[in-house]
């Protein structure tokens, strides 16, 4: 017991700790447990009401889709977990047991935060407001250029630093002891975890189409944060001495020793925490592979081509070795007009094209049997719609390639494609 008391002095006799305790006592910020709990419950209740109101307005305007329902469930689940983690039974246990305290942290960081981040709370909160207010907010946000101030909240590197720094800081013995001693600091500890982890998960759920990082960067983001935030857990498991002596009185009531409690706490942080990050990393990896697969057909091309593709699939299943005459029947292009257009646009300056006068260019590939080729430009699957897209927007698909952007109208390009598919 003497050992523990000594260590307590060591942990808190650091310069600054005394000053902080004095300042807190001066400000009267040493309230009882019930104050903090009441505060968290009030804030959470208000937030949930806003969200629910937003949902009702949405339902009133355009009905609710299954995806909306999933998001609502995620938000309510996330809020319930926050309430459970910061509510009465767990708070009391968390003051007694270090392991219970770590369970609270894990509930906030890897359960509540991802659910809330995925539920897109911002959209629902804005919906809760009347239409004019929303428009006003949008206008003033633009006028004040609010996005400039919001950008750091979305910057992956800054969010990573804030998340890891907050996590590591509050788990070192000194700040942890202060958070245990002063309830307001304990609340600040949990709010830090909740806010930084919300920002952390929002980076992961932000699609790269909306300016978020790509899948590779997200994987790196998650895995490096996982390695760093697992480290305190590993140290707690391996430590041969109690690092958090504040729980000396609490663990006795549970029939545990400080060391056992600390080892359980370390495992809680290490194993479920690591598993959650690993699952997210696996999900990101699968999504990354799927994206790579989809890249063969451009998103823009796919939406135009949807109907055609449907017609293409049926014959494609019957056999691979077929001519292109069938799909082109549904394509709506005139091959004869296409042949004259090819002369008009001067395609033959660069390409060797069969049956076109003077088409003997040696810059691009020869277009003989182009109807049977597998790829266009080495990356697009050879479908009429992809060919159409390639002829109209070659610089958008492969910026900087030698094929010039000719601004060919769509019908002209359709006719050219129709001619090209006669070459099989």
């Amino acid at each position: 017991m003497l050992r523990i008391a000594n260590l307590d002095v060591v942990a808190l006799s650091t310069p600054g700790a005394d000053a902080i305790s004095a300042a807190l006592a001066f400000c009267g910020l040493t309230g009882s447990t019930s104050d903090g709990v009441a505060f968290s419950v009030m804030v959470l209740g208000a937030v949930t009401c806003c969200y629910t109101f937003g949902v009702f307005r949405l339902a009133h305007r355009r009905g609710v889709t299954a995806r909306d329902l999933r998001r609502i469930a995620a938000f309510l689940g996330g809020s319930a977990i926050v309430l459970a983690a910061m509510g009465p039974p767990l708070v009391a246990y968390g003051e007694q047991l270090f392991s219970m305290h770590m369970i609270q942290h894990m509930m906030l960081i890897i359960a509540a935060a991802p659910l809330i981040a995925w539920s897109r709370p911002k959209v629902m909160f804005l919906r809760a407001l009347p239409k004019e207010t929303r428009a006003n907010i949008g206008r003033s946000a633009r006028r004040l250029r609010l996005d400039r101030f919001m950008r750091p909240l979305r910057d992956p590197i800054l969010v990573w630093i804030a998340f890891c720094a907050g996590f590591v800081f509050w788990h070192t013995p000194g700040p942890y002891a202060l958070a245990m001693r002063y309830e307001s600091l304990g609340l600040l500890e949990h709010i830090t975890f909740l806010l930084t982890s919300l920002a952390f998960w929002m980076v992961i759920f932000r699609s790269s189409m909306r300016g978020g990082p790509g899948y590779g960067a997200k994987l790196l983001f998650v895995l490096t944060a996982a390695a760093l935030t697992d480290l305190p857990g590993a140290l707690m498991v391996f430590a041969p001495r109690p690092l958090y002596p504040e729980h000396a009185a609490g663990v006795a009531g549970w029939g545990l020793t400080l060391m056992q409690d600390q080892e359980i706490a370390g495992l809680v942080m290490w194993i479920p925490g690591g598993l959650a990050y690993l699952l997210v990393a696996a999900w990101l990896f699968v999504a990354w592979l799927r994206e790579a697969e989809n890249r063969a057909v451009l998103p823009g091309a796919r939406s135009i081509a949807n109907v055609t593709l449907l017609l293409l699939v049926a014959p494609a299943l019957t056999g691979c070795n077929r001519s292109r005459a069938e799909p082109i029947a549904n394509f709506n292009g005139d091959p004869e007009r296409g042949a004259t257009l090819i002369q008009k646009y001067g395609c033959g300056g660069c390409h060797d094209i069969p049956n076109i006068n003077d088409a003997e260019g040696n810059v691009g590939p020869p277009l003989s049997r182009i109807g049977n080729r597998i790829y266009i430009a080495g990356m697009l699957r050879n479908t009429p719609d992809n060919m159409l897209l390639w002829i109209r927007e070659p610089q958008r698909i492969v910026p900087g390639n030698a094929m010039p952007q000719m601004n060919i109208p769509e019908q002209d390009a359709r006719d050219i494609v129709a001619y090209l598919y006669t070459l099989n």
């Binding site: 000594n6 260590l7 060591v10 942990a11 808190l12 650091t14 310069p15 600054g16 800081f169 070192t172 013995p173 000194g174 700040p175 942890y176 002891a177 390695a227 480290l231 590993a234 140290l235 391996f238 430590a239 041969p240 001495r241 690092l243 001067g346 033959g348 300056g349 660069c350 003077d358 260019g361 810059v363 390639n401 030698a402 094929m403 010039p404």
Partner: protein, 205 residues
Amino acid sequence: MSTVVAVSRRSLPVGSVGAHAIGWWGMVCAVLTEAALFGYLLFSYFYFAIQPRQMAFPPQLPPLWLAAPNTVILLASSVAVWQGERGARRDSRARQVIGLGVGFALGVVFVGIQLLEWHSQPFGLSSNAYGSLFFTVTGFHMAHVILGLLILLSLTIWSALGYFDRYYSAPISIGVIYWHFVDAVWLAVFFSFYITPYLGLRHGP
């Protein structure tokens, strides 16, 4: 009939072009492996810090009067090379040379102060476990700083000779990544060796 021939904006480039050139990927991979090395080194420090008390931990808290200003200097050098990189992107050779040059000079100052810091320690590389850890980790970091300084020096000279412009600045971006990495590693080393003892993570008297 006219013949369309596509020609690049300038004469054909030599070496890596564009932001994500092969050298960029090489540097990112090098940074990742080196980061893993420092991860292991710092973990071994923390493993030492959680051991039972009175195991060769210095009795007094680490003095910050050299290390803290030195950290600011290294951070400032990162800002300087970042400005140099922006100068290259905007075709401003003066800004490019000044940014990289100031970054190099601040790096040299860092090395000087770090040598003073080493000299002022009451323990040596072989006096105890703490000394070995301290000099191994800061020594490894110093080796990386010196390599970074060589990179910055070459980039400064090449910039002054006008090797880089808006279209061809990949070497600057790649070198700057390494310097930012050296800076980030120092922040981690500084936090571990100089800050965590103040946060209660150290052996008792």
